[in-house]
Symmetry: C2
DNA sequence: CCAATATATCTCAGCGCTAAGGAATCTCCG
DNA sequence: CGGAGATTCCTTAGCGCTGAGATATATTGG
């Protein structure tokens, strides 16, 4: 086992010297989590760029695509799925609509609401990008064997539960 | 054990129905990682706000503080630690300098460089905020016992290694 | 039925970041 | 020494998001 020292090890060691009265062990987890998230983002970004996408656009298209026929959802549902504000969704949809990847039509049943629907081009684009995206994710996870991955996912589930991540 | 179904379970199930030809299992990990990171950010943000800070400012002050006396680093070092661009650091320092939390002075040995130093107020502020921040982190991790935390950290380490996170 | 409240979407100013590039200084090497 | 390239920090336009709030429509309770 190599004695790998990473960025967070150094941070924890520095705090140990400067503030020995504090227990900074939570940083071992949260610090690495934040750092990993940033590095993963950078990696995924490249894949998205190869398909003229960024994370925000991919996210909306994928949400519509996996919702199944007729590939149609309201802005509110997209907003909840994406964990962003309503303003952010409006702007994402402006961009996607401008590129012809989605359409926005008034809802028949609710005058306040609209139906966002994947166009054929939007459908084709996300189906082209998705396998590439999954390949990148698989590559990132390549050094984690099945058992450790399962344990990792279980821990992520627990933490998401603590923070109140419920699907409804 | 409760049969908790989370947001990502639903996503994976939807893809299974729409694209049964694809193995979307990497999303079980990356999807939860991204989602958890967002939720953690929101949680930490509240703690920072109680001390008139945001993540960017906290990050710079903490990096200076844990570097030890004389609490002085160059913008380049701060940039590398924070994983942001040089422009971002310049702007962070503008804000912190404007609030009197750090000072910027020319480097004695290198005419291109500057020394960023924590002021007394900056020192006092970070030492006040840090215990609160650690308490929040501890609360987030509260549902993970010691063994599972250790396994989680080991997995994070592996993934960071895959993505080339080295301290130098 | 109406008024009050809730909901759905959008607009927009402001924020922090990136990407690109400029200016000053340092380092290396012929 | 002197020129070429590297390094350090900063500036700025543009981007996506938030937070606040506007508008329109729906729902609820008296």
């Amino acid at each position: 086992m190599a004695e790998r020292v990473d960025h967070v090890d150094r941070i924890v060691q520095q705090w140990g010297a400067e503030r020995p009265d504090l227990d900074v062990s939570p940083m071992e987890v949260i610090g690495r989590l934040k750092r990993l998230s940033r590095l993963v983002d950078a990696e995924l970004k490249e894949t998205f760029a190869r398909h003229d996408l960024d994370f925000a656009s991919f996210d909306v298209l994928a949400t519509l695509r996996r919702s199944g026929p007729p590939y149609r959802l309201t802005p509110t549902l997209l907003m909840q799925s994406a964990m962003v504000t309503s303003g952010a969704i409006s702007q994402r949809l402006d961009r996607l609509e401008g590129r012809g990847l989605v359409t926005r039509t008034p809802s028949g049943s609710d005058g306040r609401s609209r139906e966002v629907e994947l166009t054929e081009e939007g459908y084709a684009l996300i189906d082209r990008a998705l396998p590439d995206h999954l390949a990148t994710e698989r590559r990132i996870l390549g050094d984690l064997d099945e058992a450790r991955t399962a344990a990792f996912v279980a821990a992520l589930r627990t933490l998401l539960g603590t923070l109140g991540d419920d699907p409804e």
